[in-house]
Point group: D2
Amino acid sequence: MEGAHPRVMQRLLETNLEQTPGYGNDPYCRQAKELIKKACGCEADSEALDVHFLVGGTQTNSTVIDALLRHHEGVLAAETAHINVHESGAIESCGHKVLTLPSHEGKVEAREVEAYISNFYADETYEHMVAPGMLYISFPTEYGTLYSRAELEELHRICRQADIPLYIDGARLGYGLASEACDFTLADLPSLCDIFYIGGTKVGALFGECVVARKGLLSHFFPLIKQHGALMAKGRLLGLQFATLFTDDLYLQAARHAVGLAMRLKQGFVSKGYRLFLDSPTNQQFVVLPNEVMDRLAQSSTFEVWGTRGTTHTTVRFVTSWATRPEDVEALINEL
Amino acid sequence: MEGAHPRVMQRLLETNLEQTPGYGNDPYCRQAKELIKKACGCEADSEALDVHFLVGGTQTNSTVIDALLRHHEGVLAAETAHINVHESGAIESCGHKVLTLPSHEGKVEAREVEAYISNFYADETYEHMVAPGMLYISFPTEYGTLYSRAELEELHRICRQADIPLYIDGARLGYGLASEACDFTLADLPSLCDIFYIGGTKVGALFGECVVARKGLLSHFFPLIKQHGALMAKGRLLGLQFATLFTDDLYLQAARHAVGLAMRLKQGFVSKGYRLFLDSPTNQQFVVLPNEVMDRLAQSSTFEVWGTRGTTHTTVRFVTSWATRPEDVEALINEL
Amino acid sequence: MEGAHPRVMQRLLETNLEQTPGYGNDPYCRQAKELIKKACGCEADSEALDVHFLVGGTQTNSTVIDALLRHHEGVLAAETAHINVHESGAIESCGHKVLTLPSHEGKVEAREVEAYISNFYADETYEHMVAPGMLYISFPTEYGTLYSRAELEELHRICRQADIPLYIDGARLGYGLASEACDFTLADLPSLCDIFYIGGTKVGALFGECVVARKGLLSHFFPLIKQHGALMAKGRLLGLQFATLFTDDLYLQAARHAVGLAMRLKQGFVSKGYRLFLDSPTNQQFVVLPNEVMDRLAQSSTFEVWGTRGTTHTTVRFVTSWATRPEDVEALINEL
Amino acid sequence: MEGAHPRVMQRLLETNLEQTPGYGNDPYCRQAKELIKKACGCEADSEALDVHFLVGGTQTNSTVIDALLRHHEGVLAAETAHINVHESGAIESCGHKVLTLPSHEGKVEAREVEAYISNFYADETYEHMVAPGMLYISFPTEYGTLYSRAELEELHRICRQADIPLYIDGARLGYGLASEACDFTLADLPSLCDIFYIGGTKVGALFGECVVARKGLLSHFFPLIKQHGALMAKGRLLGLQFATLFTDDLYLQAARHAVGLAMRLKQGFVSKGYRLFLDSPTNQQFVVLPNEVMDRLAQSSTFEVWGTRGTTHTTVRFVTSWATRPEDVEALINEL
């Protein structure tokens, strides 16, 4: 885990002594919003999209979900979803249930979403149950996998039909968009869902996430951000970072670097005969290693045990980033 | 759904014009607590148990669970548990996650509880996850099934080992204790778990649930009951009803009546060749009916579709109570 | 604290063995809703009003307020309001702040409400503050006092202007409507506010409160009632009681009885030279007693110390009800 | 509002490409904790204090308060407290009531705290009320004022007697400790309260707050931080900044710079005949300006209207920081 992309650091340094209004009312936040609207396929001054900056991923998810759901509603999500597993109950602490769907390598399937909703309303006792009030998916998923454009369109169609918003957790959005397996661009995303966030923390920023929502979906979101402790006093730090990332295509360039090295790493594992846990087209690679290999690699590389250690083999996760060096990837492959 | 057992109504009428202090500080509540402590195998003035009265089941579950869990903890429960399915998200609205276990005809299995807990702490990221903070089971379950004494002992052992309380939702407790399949008595229950409630609403009272907890488990429970809107102004109504139900063994007698008729009903279905959805030894009977039979019975009997209507067959639930008349059961069987 | 009015008990007894659907889907609830709509000046089948039954006052307040407020909003109320003082933090436990206004013998003043709202939006930092999202008043207040029709109209005008609902806590509504000081009727109330509840628990019922709201104000209220643990399984008990209270004017008759005796009691205190704490026109009377008189009366009468015992004098509260006997009032006066 | 002290920026830049574990398990966080323990008068490896890093002030307050309070408890605070006014209801959104005390230029008075607590328990109905569960004060207060050592000792004594923790919001802690009016040091603070935080955001850091608690007060705080969305993925950013601020006394030096200039500014206002709103010994200065002067100054200086604009005069707030330049202060004074 590195800091920020050098260009981001450079800009933070250059502007460090400037005095700007707090809480996001500054020229950098304005500039960032314009750049992001353009990257999302709109005019810089478009009113079609709302753009907000928050600090971290868990708080973004819980603030957005809290904003979208009514009391009697819960959020549909894969059982492996970050909000269901790794956010210490942040969603429930806001009063909402996570309604789980089967996970298919981290993805939900459209027909299972559709069946959940129709079964819910077919149940005579549904008014005693938590209603599906929105659909949460992550892109890339927690397993590095991607939805195709057609899959998103189908999910979005189902959500529109059920009159619930489709929300995409884009903590690693750049690594999805930068993958060769991705068949759409950021400019397509606003029409493929109702609200999503562009992850900064994992893609070149020191910290920061950028929520993009269709106009009118989020009302009174500013005080809710504050209430959730997600409002940054020096809000310009967020604007400045995103403005830098969305200048000269830095966001995607940084992500492409990471994904390229992840593909090289995957190829390395496969060519040396190791079994992939699943076939990820993004910057997270999951591979099943014999424990002795895992223990040996742990001395020179950084990776994570996925779940619990097995008796002979263990699944581990390797993650590349904008800062990963090609020579380190090659060295790792040579050690296999 | 009838009102209350005639003896309960009689007592409400006899005492109607008495003036007593509110909120449970009255002689009837005191008397009921003494009778219940005795029924639970203690002296009437025992300090080993805390006894509290609340109005309804959902509020009892959410108040107890809210009292027992700390912020970072959730409640383990079968995925079919009432708190997970049919309480409109009451547990989550208090900020807590329901951590689901597979349901085996409504029951959880000890080895799966144990595995959940040990896997949780074996996961390197467990501090980002919701910790299992208590175990919820229902007795009888939502499917009418029962745990044996040995099964409860094993669950309790696992809970003690994990230092979490075992809580039994006894909305239908009488119908479990009154079953021939039950191998323990109410007097055994305080040693088989940490806290449970004796359901009144479904077993002879107009309304009312009685929480029995080992001393020290619930601190500052009174204001929490109030905060949850579960404090009855005319608290004596609760005390009076429970005092009546625990005089002359009325609670169990009423339950035995219901279970006896449920067994007769089950026998009737089986002898006529219908398939049981599962073999329940208590007052709820689940049977798979051809749709045309179901539709015919619906004209003379009251039952509930369980889940959604099937294309040719549907599972339905029949429930008997202290008020069910034998002649109505016989008439139903004759119609099969 | 007595039970229920004998006619209510009689009806509960008569219908005790009837079987009806649960959760309020029964003929008695339907009938009660029709009677209440008529008492509120509408046709029995009017769609202009929504009517809901809940069990107790604290849960009614917290469920209604939770339903009406959005995340960033709080509820304006007198600092002496029940929701601010005596509900164990139930409103805050739902996530909402009580925004307090000065209390004038339990009442809020229109100009202070108006000033609060205008000062709020005049503050440059208002988006960091909890917005006034509704106004809560009680009628009669916690001090037995009443708003005049003109005062309610003025409060309602201010609320409409600010686009926030005016909610009246009518835990003791009958005792207000039955007072000679009241210059409007129940039929006027729907036009004087947006939502109110008709208290049953304190005015003749065993328990039960009836929420009356203008159409469209409360959406998805049923699951919220359930989530708040305020849904009664045997819902017909609520319908039956309110149907009885709103037949042959029983509700107001019972209240008039209580208010008449309270006026007699007030006159008694005044004629014997005791100082009233304030001049209440309803069933609660607050009087300042020398401690020796208070201690003597405590042996034969029931009243409540209001706040804390003073060194020489103490304020106490006497409450009459539908069940208070004239001879007991006279005996009390004779003892003064 | 500037960025971070240049030394902090320098260190962020130097370490930008280092790879460290996330979520605070890194050498910089360890080092910062040691330096802070030493600054707090303990050994670097002392077990007497717990040290945690969070991102911002509102989230620190709501996470700490949520951790300390039980369900039935609220937090005592001055009515002008940040948590009561300017955090968008963050405390209530966690379920807790702010119990307000009169504000004396932002401070609470010991005798009023004591009276609140004793009156609370003297009230017969206290179990229906929100119990005082902790005391929140800010140092410096929202008005720039300071508690003396003797005042803190007295508040702490009252809290210990009531068995509730005393929590100090130190968002601007440095500016208090750096004031000549402060009669204690950071090393005294752990014995003057139970828990406090050292504000970084407003005193030289880009962002970051450091909670210091006596051992055992906060249990399971890590998952709670996560649940509140206050856990920083790249936790080392917090450790690194605090390590820098607590090296070579930078934290206090930076604060002293600001306070010195604030004193110069105050002197300037007074010598020119302006009325101070109150006499603040720290970096916030409140002065009452004729509106025409205010409007003129607004063209060259940055300050904040305090509350609402008056008809002829308005109270405004000037804030200095580590980055304020002496020449700007002099220029402002010259303009008066």
